[in-house]
């Protein structure tokens, strides 16, 4: 009986605190969303080719360019350490030149992040190349399969 009488004000305080926490969490989430929205361009690690093409950075300014190394675009110069390739994102393409050792995962059809600067002639000169791995994890054995088997196995995995 007496518990009934005392539990009401306690319950009320509990509800008030619950409401306060819920409001605080909503405000926090809204603040975080607004902050990340404001950051959305600045917080990206690199620019994609369509951004570079539509809004080119000033020649000589250090930027990162990321995208896919287009199949068939990779050319090794006669000196053996200088390479040319094209980075594309499906919409735009940027030719890149680089001199140095490439990471193991760097190859045609795969992702790459190049650090460097645009030259006046529209070529990107990279000082550093980083390879980008995609979300697909495929065993090496698949390499020994025929193209059709490989495709079937990959589709089985990624569907």
């Amino acid at each position: 009986m007496s518990e009934e009488a005392t539990s009401h004000p306690l319950k009320k305080a509990k509800h008030q605190r619950l409401a306060l926490v819920v409001v605080a969490v909503i405000v926090l989430v809204a603040a975080a969303l607004i902050a990340t929205w404001a950051l959305r361009n600045q917080a990206s690690f690199f620019y994609v080719p369509s951004e570079i093409v539509s809004d080119p950075p000033p020649a000589g300014q250090a930027v990162r360019l990321g995208g896919m190394v287009e199949a068939g675009s990779l050319v090794t110069k006669p000196d053996g350490v200088t390479i040319d390739f094209v980075v594309g994102d499906g919409d735009a393409r940027v030719p890149v030149e680089y001199k140095g050792i490439v990471p193991d995962l760097f190859q045609e059809g795969s992702g790459v992040v190049a650090e460097g600067r645009m030259l006046a002639n529209g070529t990107f000169r990279a000082d550093t190349l980083l390879a980008k791995h995609d979300e697909n994890y495929i065993p090496r054995e698949l390499q020994d399969m025929t193209a059709a088997q490989k495709q079937a196995a990959i589709e089985e995995t990624t569907k």
Partner: protein, 248 residues
């Protein structure tokens, strides 16, 4: 749920649950890591370094899950004022910080051969580092302001505010162009071959069971600490009274 919030009832459940979780988690972890490190095939592009996955992903998951536990415990503490919630938050902080550090270290070891860099100030990497610093802040704050093993309200508020970083970590690779690959697993879809997927899921479960066992152990230790402190205080009070009477 309210029944388990009673420290005595909690102990009767936690005592047998701790070794059970520990044994089950260790068995699962041994099996999955043995398979992952020695039997699983090399990956098409990454080669042998793909094996780091079986430690890196569970560590990342537990680093984020650890802070989620802190946040839920903090809300329970502020709304229901229950000391066990505060103890749960403090108990999850140290293992959470450890797994976050493991995630950063293994990620760095993988990044050097795969990407060609130990570290980049990328959205995913940076937000994970921020999580580690948040853990350090929480541990210092909760430790400094704890009374009789119960953490203060200020650390509970810190725990709730810090949880904002958890979705930022998760979505960092989707919102922003990132060097880090997007998640391979999402809502019933897997971009991972079963040879990698199953040991990864088993290792994640194994690490999680061990994490839960460690949190329970730490909760019991913090509870025992609080009881010992309360007993000492009572004793000191009694002997004060005794000597005062003697002087009288």
């Amino acid at each position: 749920m309210h029944g388990f919030a009673n420290p005595k009832r909690f102990l009767t459940i936690a005592r047998p649950l701790t070794p059970a979780l520990l044994v089950l988690g260790s068995l699962l972890l041994c099996a999955s890591l043995t398979y992952g490190l020695f039997v699983a095939p090399a990956e098409r592009l990454q080669g042998e370094t793909v094996r780091i996955l079986f430690v890196h992903v569970p560590a990342a998951w537990l680093g984020m899950a650890g802070w989620s536990v802190i946040a839920m415990a903090s809300i329970a503490e502020i709304v229901w004022r229950h000391p066990l919630a505060a103890i749960a938050g403090r108990a999850a902080a140290v293992p959470g910080a450890l797994f976050t550090a493991i995630c950063l270290a293994t990620g760095s070891l993988w990044g050097r051969p795969a990407w060609g860099t130990w570290w980049e100030w990328d959205g995913r990497l940076t937000s994970m580092l921020v999580l580690l610093f948040l853990y350090f802040g929480y541990i210092a704050l909760a430790g400094a302001t704890a009374r009789e093993g119960v953490s203060s309200r200020i650390s509970a508020i810190f725990g709730i505010v810090g949880v904002i970083n958890v979705p930022v970590i998760h979505y960092s690779v989707l919102w922003w162009y990132s060097i880090h690959q997007p998640p391979s697993l999402s809502m019933g879809k897997s971009a991972m071959a079963p040879e990698f997927l199953w040991p990864l899921l088993a290792a994640t479960l194994g690490f999680s069971l061990i994490f839960s066992a460690v949190v329970l152990m730490r909760m019991r230790a913090l509870l025992a600490d609080a009881q010992a402190e309360a007993r000492l205080r009572r004793k000191a009070l009694d002997s004060d009274r005794g000597s005062a009477q003697g002087d009288w």
